[in-house]
């Protein structure tokens, strides 16, 4: 847990859950494992508030609890997962992916579950159907069964999974007495046999349109009715959560496919896409290669509208294998040739390209040349760097030293004599990809933190203006509802002056830009994180 990670987690918690949760969360991150009493004491918050915050964190799967150091009899201790908090940064991307794969219904399902942490299937289906109905033109409504089928699809493709069953009651309900500890090791959702089994629910009907505020009473009644509905659905106690791992695998596959299409061409990327799709379910999550696939199998699984003849496919596969990036490897000759996708190698190559791109953009293409040169040749003396890169000695020296001071390049001394005299020592420059990737990951965390801070600052600066515009919009809406005259409406509208309108416009532009940049940096974070975890796994 680095300072930058803690800072970013704090910002994210504050944004999503508010100040109190942020305080509890940050304190938990800083001190590692704590029990409830210590946490309340050290944060100087009311026990009640701490409990509620922990509840929120547990609900979202960001906090786990288990028997403490003093064994099962001692107080329960809480542990927070930094990684999981940083995943909040990726929420827009998860939702977008669900949308592009399963349409609006998928989008809303994932959005709802992300927002609430965990939900039962029946309540998800109802909420989503209601929301969809609300957006449809008058007279139409969304059928529950459609939402149910989208939900089942998401489960079948493992994008959603059941929450691991909790062995005992939640920690938040008993007062001064700490609750009895649950199972010692928090069970992994994957180990659970029913993880991806969709329960049968008897849910028929259509989404209900939410009425505007006038018939609030009816709404309440509907809510009450919904509650009674719930009792009949038959899936109580089965909660679902988003399977982040599965989404990450999907992102990784997309990154590989994009890289292939940039490097080679569209058709090759389609072949790789087919290979990845075929091995999606059979390959374990952190494997270095996909399952081997024969050329025959690949040929049969290719989308039929692609029209790739068999000999052409063979040629493409040979090209992919020959490519120095080694995205695809050949493992045997049976079945027309067995092929695998080198997942770890591909990630390493992508991470390397990311590092190169950072150096290129920040220090110019000549420094990038030196950087690539060192990556390729491992250890070089200064003179060799100058000669290979064909850069005048003075400039090359400057660039090397700048890279060295930024820690992107390392210096290795090899003395010929034990006294380390400079004249009898080799000075070798080198680039270590893994530590450099870690360094850049920290930079990314800091950058996202900066962007969020800036966004908060921008909104704070224009707080008065934003509140005003919100107020006016509210007035406008209520006036429209009561059927006011158009002159009255324009009058209200003009309460925001032209310069104010302009300021609002530019603020919106700024916020959009900051938001989209956060997502872009997150893509870099994702690549570097997966590279680092994959490299650690293979060691």
């Amino acid at each position: 847990m680095t300072t930058q990670e803690v800072r970013l987690c704090g910002l994210l918690l504050q944004e999503h859950f508010g100040d109190v949760v942020e305080k509890v969360g940050t304190h938990l991150i800083r001190s590692g494992v704590l029990n409830l009493r210590a946490l309340a004491l050290e944060t100087k918050l009311a026990l009640d508030l701490v409990k509620k915050s922990l509840c929120v964190l547990v609900q979202h799967g960001m906090c786990t609890f288990g028997a403490g150091r003093r064994g099962p009899a001692g107080p329960v201790e809480y542990r927070i997962s930094c990684e999981r908090i940083i995943h909040m940064l990726r929420y827009p991307r998860y939702i977008y992916t669900a949308k592009s794969l399963y349409g609006d219904t998928g989008e809303l399902i994932v959005e709802e579950i992300l927002q609430r942490g965990q939900m039962t299937m029946s309540s998800t289906v109802k909420t989503v159907a209601d929301r969809l109905t609300h957006n449809m033109p008058e007279g139409q409504s969304m059928d529950y069964s459609e939402v149910v089928s989208a939900f089942s699809q998401l489960v079948e493709t493992h994008f959603l999974q059941r929450c691991p069953p909790v062995a005992s009651a939640g920690p938040s309900d008993s007062g001064a007495v700490d609750p009895p500890p649950p199972a010692v090791t928090p069970s992994e959702p994957e180990n659970h046999p029913d993880c991806y089994r969709v329960p049968y629910i008897n849910l028929t009907g259509k989404g209900k349109r939410r009425r505007s505020s006038e018939d609030g009473e009816a709404d309440q009644r509907a809510a009450k009715k919904a509650k009674t509905d719930n009792d009949e659905c038959g899936d109580e106690g089965i909660f679902w959560q988003v399977n982040f791992e599965r989404f990450h695998l999907h992102f990784r596959d997309q990154a590989i496919i994009n890289a292939v299409s940039c490097k080679l061409d569209q058709t090759s990327s389609e072949i790789v896409r087919t290979m990845l799709r075929m091995s999606e379910v059979t390959t374990p999550a952190n494997a270095a290669f996909t399952q081997a696939l024969s050329a025959n199998e690949i040929f049969r699984a290719l989308p039929s509208n692609y029209n790739i003849a068999r000999p052409i496919l063979d040629q493409y596969l040979t090209l992919l294998v020959d490519d120095p990036m080694e995205f695809v490897g050949k493992t045997g000759d049976s079945g027309g040739g067995m092929y695998v996708v080198n997942l770890h190698r591909a990630l390493a190559n992508l991470a390397r390209a990311t590092l190169e791109s950072v150096v290129q953009e920040r220090f110019g293409s000549r420094s990038a040349r030196i950087f690539r040169l060192l990556l390729r040749k491992r250890h070089l003396e200064q003179k060799q760097v100058e000669d290979f890169a064909m850069i005048p000695a003075k400039e090359a020296k400057d660039m090397l030293y700048t890279l060295l001071s930024e820690n992107l390049v390392q210096l290795q001394e090899i003395p010929k004599t034990p006294d380390h005299a400079p004249s009898r020592t080799f000075y070798l420059y080198t680039v270590n990809q893994l530590p450099t990737a870690r360094l850049l990951l920290q930079h990314c965390y800091k950058t996202v933190g900066n962007l969020i801070e800036r966004r908060l600052y921008e909104t704070k600066e224009n707080k008065r203006l934003l509140e005003k515009s919100q107020r006016i919009e509210a007035i406008l809406a209520s006036l429209q509802a009561t059927g006011a005259e158009t002159t009255q409406l324009t009058e209200v509208e003009e309460m925001i002056t032209a310069p104010e309108r302009q300021q609002l416009e530019s603020l919106r532009h700024h916020i959009n830009k900051l938001d989209s940049s956060e997502n872009q940096v997150d893509e870099t974070i994702f690549l570097l994180e997966s590279y680092i975890t994959s490299t650690q796994a293979s060691r």
């Binding site: 994009n258 953009e361 990038a368 064909m390 005048p392 950058t447 900066n450 872009q520 997150d522």
Partner: protein
């Protein structure tokens, strides 16, 4: 007995010397003592030694040392004549410079090797330079350092820096231009291959260019005043590899094919990068020079960042 000996002595010295010289001419690589002994079995060791000594002192013979003993070799007639009329010190310095070959030698190294005072050496060097026996060449490694070598020698690449240096300045613009031209050539080739709509294998193979082809293209462009060799072009192509724009493969070629070296042919082709600039560098923070000093609440902070303001208003 004595008579014979006397007779031999009277005839021998000149004869032996001539015979040795003849032998040396027969074997320009040099001859060992053994060869002389075999040729003139009747000559005693002492006589042989005195004859060789004489030849050495006159400067007609060179004494060399190799793995299996001493070697005698006839001295270059020219060089022998050149040094004529100069004193021993000059001869010594000349020899040291000659030994250095086309890499040249620095005046301080001459002093170490000859044990002569520096002023003396400078005088000798100036003298010999005026006689056009030696020349001074400025080295690219250190611009202030002059090295001396024989007048008729072509300086080594390590001294002049090859085609990339003019007056010991590295011509980085020239290198950049060549770098761009080579890339353009390979890129157009790759594009032509892509547009040809042939099978993927043929497409790939036709996007390759041998280093010889690139060399010919550059020569025909005529952008270079100096003659570039194929190795020169290969070093340029290597910089393109380090730029991440080009890939190289080595294939075996039949001996005598155009552009093959030692039965190998180097093939180059232009390639596309695998990713677009990464997300991090699209933000001002990714390029910020004061990134490490930036803290919320500090002098430099995200809230009052000037780069951020410019970027947001862009």
């Amino acid at each position: 007995m004595t008579e014979v000996k006397v007779k031999k002595e009277s005839t021998d010295p000149v004869d032996i010397e001539n015979r040795i010289k003849e032998l040396c001419q027969q074997f320009p690589q040099g001859i060992t003592d053994q060869v002389i002994q075999n040729d003139m079995p009747h000559v005693e060791a002492q006589q042989r030694a005195s004859a060789i000594n004489r030849l050495l002192s006159v400067g007609q013979l060179d004494l060399l040392k190799n793995s299996n003993g001493l070697l005698y070799r006839l001295k270059d007639v020219q060089s022998a004549s050149k040094v004529k009329g100069s004193d021993n010190q000059e001869k010594l310095v000349y020899q040291i410079i000659e030994d250095a070959g086309n890499k040249g030698i620095w005046s301080r190294d001459i002093r170490y090797k000859s044990n002569l005072p520096l002023t003396e050496i400078n005088k000798i060097l100036k003298n010999m330079e005026s006689k056009k026996l030696i020349k001074a060449v400025k080295s690219v490694a250190a611009s202030k350092k002059k090295v001396y070598m024989l007048y008729n020698l072509q300086p080594d690449r390590s001294v002049t820096g090859g085609a990339w240096y003019s007056d010991q300045d590295f011509e980085s613009e020239f290198v950049e231009v060549l770098n761009q031209q080579c890339f353009k050539f390979l890129q157009s080739k790759a594009e032509a291959a892509r547009d040809s709509k042939q099978s993927p294998m043929v497409q790939r193979n036709s996007s390759f260019a041998t280093s010889h082809e690139v060399w010919k293209y550059i020569c025909e462009l005529g952008i270079s005043k100096v003659d570039l060799s194929m190795e020169d072009i290969e070093t340029i192509l290597n910089t393109l590899i380090f730029d991440g724009k080009v890939e190289m493969t080595i294939i075996a070629a039949k001996e005598g094919t155009v552009g093959s070296v030692d039965g190998q042919m180097k093939l180059y082709r232009g390639v596309n990068p695998i990713i677009q600039p990464t997300g991090l560098v699209k933000t001002p923070c990714g390029l910020c020079p004061v990134f490490d000093d930036c803290h919320e609440g500090g002098e430099i902070s995200p809230s009052n960042c000037v780069y951020m303001v410019e970027w947001l208003d862009f």
